[in-house]
């Protein structure tokens, strides 16, 4: 199995606040890893260190063989292959759905306009929104916006997808449509790292679940290992609150 992401003794602090205290993590090609843990435990920070939206304070992050903690690495090139989906969608507000999806492949000269257009339409079909191509983001529901955001990330043909609580800003009736897209993606063999509060999704889709607390991995294993068999008191306490 190919290693896609390797995190070695990753540390991150904001001023004096130590958020990540030595994280070790290896993610293999095609794996779906779900990260769970209490609020403020450092889940988002860990995810954002994987594409250097946050600079690590210590340790190493190797993605696709590139050491992105090395300042000499061309981070923009590495990011082309790492898709990210945010809690608040972050669709480009001044662009239509189609333009949102086409922007990066065209601007980075990865595709011609025609290719990008074709890819965008295909992706919109895949997420069930081909009729919304000409809409602006604010005309869409949260669930629709998040599906467009996933399509936008997929347009770059990434080998890794990062999700930071993609459904927690959604009304309950829209959670399902986004999770369905993510499940389909997982079944296609995408390498996925998802921070999530959707324990049902983690149980069903994850190959591995990681429980983080106070910037440390406290528990790690198959969904069964973590959800049913854990002996870690912190994990038990957390799971009792959310399940």
């Amino acid at each position: 199995m190919n290693v896609k992401v390797e995190v070695k003794n990753l540390k991150k602090s904001f001023h004096k606040l130590n958020v990540l205290n030595g994280i070790d993590l290896t993610v293999y090609e095609g794996e779906v890893v779900c990260i769970i843990g209490p609020s403020g435990s450092g889940k988002s920070t860990l995810l954002r260190c994987l594409n250097r939206l946050e600079d690590a304070t210590g340790g190493q992050v190797i993605v696709d063989g590139y050491d992105i903690t090395d300042k000499k690495t061309n981070i923009n090139k590495v990011r082309e292959k790492i898709g990210m989906v945010f809690q608040n969608f972050n669709l480009f507000a001044h662009l239509t759905v189609l333009q949102n999806i086409m922007l990066a492949p065209v601007d980075l000269k990865i595709m011609s306009k025609e290719e990008a257009h074709k890819t965008a339409i295909e992706l919109l079909k895949r997420v069930g929104l081909e009729d919304k191509a000409e809409c602006h983001p604010h005309q869409l529901s949260g669930g629709q916006q998040q599906r467009v955001a996933i399509a936008r990330a997929l347009a770059m043909k990434p080998d890794i997808m990062l999700f930071d609580e993609p459904t927690s800003a959604l009304d309950p009736e829209m959670v399902g449509e986004v999770l369905a897209v993510m499940k389909e993606l997982a079944s296609q063999g995408m390498t996925m790292i998802c921070v999530t509060h959707e324990m049902g999704f983690a149980k069903e889709v994850a190959d591995r679940v990681i429980f983080i607390d106070e910037g440390v991995i406290m528990e790690e294993g198959t969904p069964e290992d973590v959800f049913t068999n854990t002996k870690n008191p912190r994990a038990i306490d957390f799971l009792n609150k959310v399940l």
């Binding site: 480009f92 990066a104 601007d107």
Partner: protein, 227 residues
């Protein structure tokens, strides 16, 4: 007081003046936009020197009256340059453009900065996560959105600049106020003449306001779009 006579007599003079007023405003605003954008980007860069240059420039312009700036550019600067090049002269028109551009540039830099700050951080993060460089993100994602936010303040600055040209009459710029001064010097029709000058300004600035209304509507329409 003879209003009709004043109108007839002063119109050619005042029309000439308002042309100068409009011309100098337009040129200064175009240069001011370029300076403003440059200073705004310099002010937000990580380079301490660039940041300092932009900061000091904005500080000086905002902290001094324009009439003093005009005197420095028109009377002061030539004195210094003449030490090296005795034949150097500056025209009121050129000095006026320099003063107005520098002035508008400083305020526009602040307006642009405000517009850029108003774009949510998530927009940058999304663009960077797709692999766009800092400068491409600025160009394709941040500036178009910042521009929309900044339009009302920009138009406001345009209006201020048009009105501020009148200050430049003190260095002898042949703008409408100066022409009016010349006319009242011989006719003593203070009331009628200055009312007329006010009307000219009102017309020019109303056109500006209408233009901005139209622009804002157009952008709103685009944002609402068709679904």
């Amino acid at each position: 007081m003879d209003f009709t006579r004043t109108i007839l007599e002063s119109t050619p003079l005042l029309l000439e003046g308002i042309k100068i007023t409009i011309l100098i405003s337009v040129i200064s605003l175009i240069i001011g936009m370029v300076i403003g954008l440059l200073m705004c980007i310099m002010g937000m860069s990580k380079n301490i020197l660039l940041k300092a240059i932009s900061g000091v420039y904005i500080w000086i312009i905002r902290g001094t009256p324009m009439i003093v700036q005009a005197f420095i550019v028109y009377f002061g600067m030539p004195q210094v340059i003449q030490l090296f090049n005795p034949s150097f002269r500056i025209e009121a028109f050129t000095a006026g453009i320099i003063t107005l551009s520098l002035n508008a540039g400083a305020y526009l830099a602040e307006i642009f900065r405000g517009g850029i700050m108003a774009v949510p951080k998530g927009q940058t993060e999304a663009a960077r996560s797709l692999g766009l460089s800092k400068s491409r993100t600025m160009l394709k994602i941040i500036l178009p959105q910042a521009f929309k936010v900044a339009i009302p303040s920009m138009v406001n600055q345009f209006i201020i600049t048009v009105k501020d040209t009148s200050i430049l009459s003190v260095i002898g710029l042949a703008d409408i106020v100066n022409k009016a001064k010349v006319y009242v010097g011989k006719s003593y029709q203070f009331f009628a003449t200055y009312i007329l000058v006010a009307v000219y300004y009102l017309i020019v600035i109303s056109i500006l306001m209408l233009l901005s209304k139209y622009l804002e509507k157009k952008i709103n329409y685009e944002r609402k779009g068709r679904s």
